[in-house]
Symmetry: D2
Subunit: 326 residues, 4 copies
């Protein structure tokens, strides 16, 4: 029996994401009308939203901005001690920005960036959502009754970030925060994309190559259903209401998740997970390495059509050359 270094288990989950939108009301309407999310607060230029099975006060903050993109990603630690340990590591990596008192929905948080400049924060204290009487359900593990609006998502799943150097971001997240590499696309030894996680999920965050070497972009944010057929219901609804479906429902090879991609009115790409694919329970799981040439038709989509060019090249903020949506 070999006694190596034990894994770091200090980050628990992706707890919330802030999205920038140049059309905040349309963005908020999209999440409410079609994805069945509900508004829990407004403050300044921001609106806070939650999915009906989320126990916390919010998982999504929409903030008005000139351009679409990532505001920040919020990570919850497994304990207060874990928070302290990770803050020390982030500081040591020279990427710390400092503590804030918190925000609507959580307590004090330590802000930092990835090497590529994506804004993130670490925190432990959270506020749980207090359901109103008419929202209370007999299904005791469900935070609030299922809404009758849209095809309602159940919880935040993950984030995908474009990076000028995904290998470097990947290294920071694994070294400083304890993420484990689950799947990776390589091209002649270079990291093209990397899916990493702190839980049994294949990823809470992925980093992929921004082809123009631009920094700090968002590729997409993903919410989860757990039921593959729900994607077809949502796709039918969105198509009929003239929303852009960039990738129709299909099974990813990487992660085996059943997925689809749409663009919200503010311009950000939103993924929906019909099911989250396989879970990693093996504590010595070896990263799955894909060569770039094997990805189209196998790694991107196991069953569906290959991903369109736009998926590989366009993040938010959108910079030239802009891919024109239909």
């Amino acid at each position: 029996m070999t006694y190596g270094k034990e894994p770091i288990m200090d980050i628990a989950q992706l707890a919330h994401v802030e999205l920038f939108s140049p059309k905040p009301e349309k963005t908020v309407d999209f999440f409410k009308k079609f994805l069945g999310m509900t508004e829990t607060a407004r403050s300044g230029q921001s609106v806070y939203l939650r999915a009906y099975e989320e126990m916390y006060h919010n998982s999504l903050k929409i903030t008005e901005s000139k351009e679409a993109g990532l505001g920040h990603a919020g990570w919850r630690t497994t304990s207060p001690q874990a928070l302290q340990r990770r803050v020390e590591e982030v500081k040591a990596a020279g990427l710390g920005k400092g503590w804030i008192d918190g925000d609507i929905g959580h307590g004090e948080a330590f802000q930092f960036t990835t090497p590529d400049g994506h804004n993130m924060e670490l925190f432990f204290d959270v506020d749980y959502y207090k359901p109103q009487d008419h929202e209370k359900t007999k299904l005791l593990n469900r935070a609030t009754k299922r809404p009758s609006q849209g095809v309602p998502v159940r919880r935040l799943d993950h984030l995908n970030l474009m990076s000028s150097n995904p290998g470097k971001d990947n290294q920071f997240m694994t070294d400083a925060l304890g993420f484990r590499v689950r799947e990776q696309i390589q091209d002649n030894g270079n990291v093209v994309a990397s899916w990493i996680s702190v839980s049994n999920l294949v990823h809470e965050v992925a980093f992929m190559q921004e082809p123009q070497q631009e920094k700090g972009k968002l590729h997409h944010l993903c919410y989860w259903y757990g039921i593959p057929q729900n994607l077809y219901e949502l796709a039918d609804l969105l198509k009929d209401h003239d929303h852009f479906i960039e990738v129709p429902p299909n099974k990813h090879g990487i992660s085996q998740a059943f997925c689809m991609y749409v663009h919200e009115p503010g311009g950000n790409r939103i993924e929906l997970f019909g099911d989250s694919g396989y879970l990693i329970l093996d504590p010595t799981f070896e990263p799955v390495i894909w060569e770039m040439e094997d990805v189209p038709g196998n790694g991107d989509t196991w069953i569906g059509s290959e991903f369109p060019e736009s998926w590989w090249t366009q993040g938010t903020p959108i910079t030239s050359p802009k891919i024109v949506n239909r």
Copy 2:
């Protein structure tokens, strides 16, 4: 910020289960013909099986025995150090039986029992399955090609054990092994059933009250699909081939898993998970407590018909009064 005790994260997963069967060939045929599992070894009175997405050599050992029931459950630790720590705690609880050299598919293991007498073992070293050439797939995170036989299950999910004292077993598993209580049925303050886990799943094991206070029984073993509709395909197939479906496909309230229960020819109850319900990513998740009176029609099945009497009373080995299968 409160600095409490940090959680134990030493057990990674339920890695395999041994089932006793008085009709071992029929039991093996059932798992192969209808659930699409494949045989990886035979030794003595035992046959070893695996599901097509399992990376390990086997997850199921069928052993010939006079009566149906649990042989043992095998837990894999997160590291060799974790194994040492847990063995010390089990010894301290007075439930250790000692080390064995291993079995087909894993290395040295420490055997112990629950307070109620269910046989279990802890180990770290495992053997990965080596696919033959014709089994290799382009889906690199899948261990072997999907079989064309039956409605093939993807991986072992969990175990449910009947106990003369579920509260006591629950306490041992949480104290000595670090399991966390996720959901619980209580009746006047007594633990009727408890779902506990070491991962993001709601449970890898549950303990429920054996109504005659008999000890060491198996309630059921569960394999996972990830796709709810698969349960209907399997149910149609099993019904048409005269197998007993005790509980048809429905959504559990507890865990929100989409489930069904059948009996394999040896007499053990087998559950199938269409999807595994919600995941617990919240590190301070509070156990969901159900009062027994609120369970029928809500906690057992959220949508389906209430569970039959047999589900609440009969485990294996089957003792009087025997519930007659149709």
Copy 3:
């Protein structure tokens, strides 16, 4: 080659149904909020509704009444000539009531009753729904855009009527209107229930024995989805909003349809079809005869739990002994 009598093909479809409700606003809200139907007209004590893929002006008329039950069923003929031929036969059977000028959504109609007294009408001329601009869709075979409200049904499917003498009603419908018997439950040679159709569907109407020999009752009305998983979405939604699910989603043996039964607030039983089972394309299809003793667990539900007592005994109007809903 035998030259028998050629089949009558004069009735095309069940075009609309009128339901009586003692709580008309709650009934209308139920169909709108949860089943995604839209209101197309109001007149007197009646509200007219349609599903989003229905081309006609309406398929459901809710009329205020002291008791729940069937208002009437409207059958559209294949041609004006066919209408004349069927009217003659109904008159000859002594069950005709006479012509009316029509109603909102259709032209002149000939009213009649079944031998048991259920009100029905025959007509040919219909009004097609004229979508407003914001309702128009690029899916040219869809009447109007898919609504974002509830889990929207797609079209009216069939009707099930309780009868003091189902064999007699069955005979009238086949002789006078050309219905063909598709499946039947018999008990010692007596017709317990009969599923009959004029199209490739297994039934547009069924007649089943009212156990107290009461006359003219409605058993249920059914709307169609085409997608089995939709029933789980609807069941989850209705359960969470405290509506009564009498039979959870399951596969009928008879017809093989994937079905569920709920009660609308006015008290009428509503069935939903996830898929409509097998189609009958064989022009010499022999009726499938079930002996009553083989029905529970095979004919009622092929996979699910047997139907509850209430399903076999209670129609609307509800007369004593009333089955108490949970």
Copy 4:
């Protein structure tokens, strides 16, 4: 009320199809191993197959041939009288070839061709399949038990034929045989493709433009499931066993069917229907006319990616330029 000409209702269904295959054993294996069909007879260079819910002796005849393509299509009439009437019309159109004594599975048949040269036959007498004891099921409307092999199809659905002049074939089928036009693609008034039916289905046969004006080609043959998710199970299985999926599961705009296209080893395109879309119950249904420019992304696939070039250009026999399969 207008008294127009009454519709012809003399053809009941597409009863069987003969496929030519240059690799007959591989073709037969494909239908047996993956689509769960069973062999019911062999004779000369032909193998006869049926799906488990088909009542007739066979629905598919695989005949060895130098090139893939259509052998012939067999239509069953609604009565012997209807057969006589249609034969007269076909003769009058100058396309009759004469009577044969029948084939394994049906009695005397009248052979003819479409204007483009596709071989067809009309007949009334059929042989029903006689299940062996171990094949008999308690589900009385199912011909034989569900097989445990592959993802078993339930029945033959339709045929799509390429034509040098689809408008002309369309006219013959409607005039001589009573087919009704359901949906059509037009380009500057020319018929590019036409979906026609004699039943409530949107089509039993479609004709589409062969871009090189070649005659008599097969575009595809389709079998039906009724359950959309089944397509994903089959697609996963076929992909993993290196079969070519030309169009992944998606929702057609035209017909609204949930579909996928694969190529069998002999080279013929096979479609699978997850559900058959909407049914046409309206006796005065107006054909849905699509302009060619509106088809891509709406009419071909309502949700999925646009169809590949190969779908629009390649039929069997395959002639130059051959589209290379991956």
